[in-house]
Amino acid sequence: MSLNRRNFDALIIGAGGAGLNAAIQLANADLRVAVVSKVFPTRSHTVAAQGGVNAALANVLPDNWHWHMFDTVKGSDYLGDQDAIEFMCREAIPTVYELEHNGVPFSRLDNGKIYQRPFGGQSQNFGGDQAARTCAAADRTGHAILHTLYQQNLRAKTHFFDEFFALDLVRDAEGVVCGALVLEIETGEPLLIEAKCTLLATGGCGQVFRTTSNAHINTGDGMAMALRAGVPLMDMEFYQFHPTGIAGKGMLITEGVRGEGGYLLNGRGERFMERYAPKAKDLASRDVVARSIVTEVKEGRGAGPKGDHVLLKLDHLGESVIAKRLPGIRESARIFAGVDPVVEPIPVFPTAHYVMGGIPTDRFGRVVMPVGSGEEAMPGLYAAGECACASVHGANRLGGNSLLDILVFGRLAGKNIIDYVKDNPFHRDIDPSSLDYAVGRLKRWDQHGKGPSVHETREKLTRCMEDHAGVFRTEEIMAEGLEKMKEIRAEMPDVRLTDHSRVFNTARIEALELENLLDVGMALAASALYRQESRGAHSRPDYPKRDDVNWLKHTLYFLEGDRLDYKPVRTKPLTVESFPPKERVY
């Protein structure tokens, strides 16, 4: 098969905040950089981020990066790597200023500085009073950032491959990644993009769950590509359920609502968070609030005719605050819940939101592999953004820290790639078998015949994950889930497409995404089953306590044989004292 080929210094797969912030660095340095995205860049899901991005600018209340670091370590339930966390919290400040200089229309304070709002899990002075650390552009921060980054890439003349779907990484005979095989969606033609260095920035995988705040395109493609290239996924059992999705629908209502003074009520009209988190109340960490909501509903104190949700009240903020600070939320609540929050509370329930785990990297965005008792950076392969795991979120991510993560590590990966390409100026020879494998993934869907459809298989998978890997997890529930996932995997070879056309065949894209969802779902289910403790978002009624003696370690899942391995948490920061594990109360 003769393939069209292109070659670049660097290939970036993904045009969300992580990919675009990396691309700017490279394009500004006059490297030839290709950005591949399966949707037009501004349609990437970073666009949906609402509340804001954390940085200790101290524009509203006293703050510094060290307090931010403490909150992040505590929020992570001590599973985050403290060197990476220190680094992120320090870099947050220049990163946000750079965004502003690039044009992000942040909301403003009277003195002209960037507006900052309180978010969950934020404190002053290592666990003291509430802090206000989240820099916001109303409740459309992700949109404002993504569009600005796209604009700056237009200026820098980045090469965009819009609506190209990455199938798999390709490698040389030694296994070094040297680009990717991609599919032009419009024509259905494959294209080989060779690169000296490849960055995976493909975002999250919320579509493994049935109810999610994530877009249709968040199917974990980059993570699955990494798995198929022999790279493990780290800490996949830690999946965040955001406390306030619109009940029954899953669209997000930002934590910023509670940051601005909104609060939760159960069916009896009680502010139940006072019972679960006496100090932080509604602004406790997300895992805590999500569990509290599910508990209220389970114990019969839910709201609505079926008692299956709770209420988020914000009408007391007044119409002008809502119009100024939360206009997007008002719009969403009206459209999807049929309520105007200016007069009525919004019905909410936890929704699958964010994957803390992902492709293991160091703090320069280099993908790391376990070697002997340590680990080594893989030459030529980087990962950043939600698909990566640096690991700054550990077992639970704080609101406002993900935009930060994608921007800081996207930027740093970009800068690091510049040096890598200088030191490795030549393209490598692609191993034909690696290319055949990638082409095979495409060909497989040309098979005719009868079999289950992609659509029904995807529904089965997402329901299984929702039922068996949700907010509360027991051995029994998870073991059954893993078995079901294995059954689905066994059925996959029989799944058939009826549409074998080339031009803009979205059915074929969804089939390829289904395979990715399956690999990522397996990683999640397998990693979850074996962690016998409760930590952060991984909550087990049968092991209700955190167990630092046996489980203060990262999980690694390998696709081959569904093998699990573990590695230590890096508890030593770069320059400051480490924060030793403590009981986590809010």
Binding site: A48, H101, M251, A507
Partner: protein, 230 residues
């Protein structure tokens, strides 16, 4: 509920045609849910969509004669049979998927990035809340294309007339107190076509799913040009 949907597959050798579907509805169903239900029945049906909440701008379509974002359009508001077509005036790639290249090119043409002449400060560039307010109603554009593909002037001159989306974006930068390339931007917009082909027909305002007002933005640009000329 009955849907009549535009179908075109360039590989099939068939001409474009309308195809009927019967879809089971549920309370709160949006048009995007209905399109997904059609796709579940008939895999060969193609349309773009992603976020499902009106922020990514992927799923603009023409419904019963007007442009809308499918994911925020309740089907309860639509008259049966619901006729769904691709955006008017754009080349169709397949079914509801159109080629938006020209639209994106016009956006790029206005150089939609903040331009500064002075060195950047160490911290943020200051901006008063009042100056920041001037960007409201502009920066929220999701580039869905509902407006430009419903603008008669854009239908006739898509290469020469920038269209409402690009003009709204041009004003977004002209209105930004931090931007320092006002003259340059205005000079670019001079001439009979780029801006002045707008005849204030207001189609764009009528269809914008974000409630933005490109016509007003265009008016502001014209005023600024006049001021500059004086």
């Amino acid at each position: 509920m009955k849907f009549r949907v535009y179908r075109y597959d360039p590989e099939s050798g068939q001409k474009p045609h309308m195809q009927d579907y019967d879809i089971e509805t549920f309370r709160g169903m949006m048009l995007r849910d209905a399109l997904k239900a059609i796709k579940a029945q008939d895999e060969t049906f193609a349309f773009r969509h992603s976020c499902g909440e009106g922020v990514c701008g992927s799923d603009g379509v023409n419904v019963n004669g007007t442009n809308k974002l499918a994911c925020v359009t309740p089907i309860a508001d639509l008259k049966e049979p619901v006729e769904v077509r691709p955006f008017p005036g754009r080349p169709v790639i397949r079914d509801l998927v159109v080629d938006m290249t020209q639209f994106y090119e016009q956006y790029k043409a206005i150089e939609p990035w903040l331009k500064r002449k002075e060195p950047t400060p160490e911290q943020e560039i200051l901006q008063s809340p009042a100056d920041r307010d001037k960007l409201d109603g502009l920066y929220e554009c999701i580039m869905c294309g509902c407006c430009s593909t419903f603008c008669p002037s854009f239908w006739w001159n898509p290469e020469k007339f920038l269209g409402p989306q690009a003009l709204l974006s041009a004003w977004r930068f002209l209105a930004d107190s931090r931007d320092q390339a006002k003259d340059e931007r205005l000079d670019f917009l001079e001439g009979p076509y780029k801006l002045f082909r707008c005849h204030s027909i207001m189609n764009c305002v009528e269809v914008c799913p974000k409630g933005l007002n490109p016509t007003k933005a265009i008016g502001h640009i014209k005023e600024l040009m006049l001021k500059k000329a004086v």
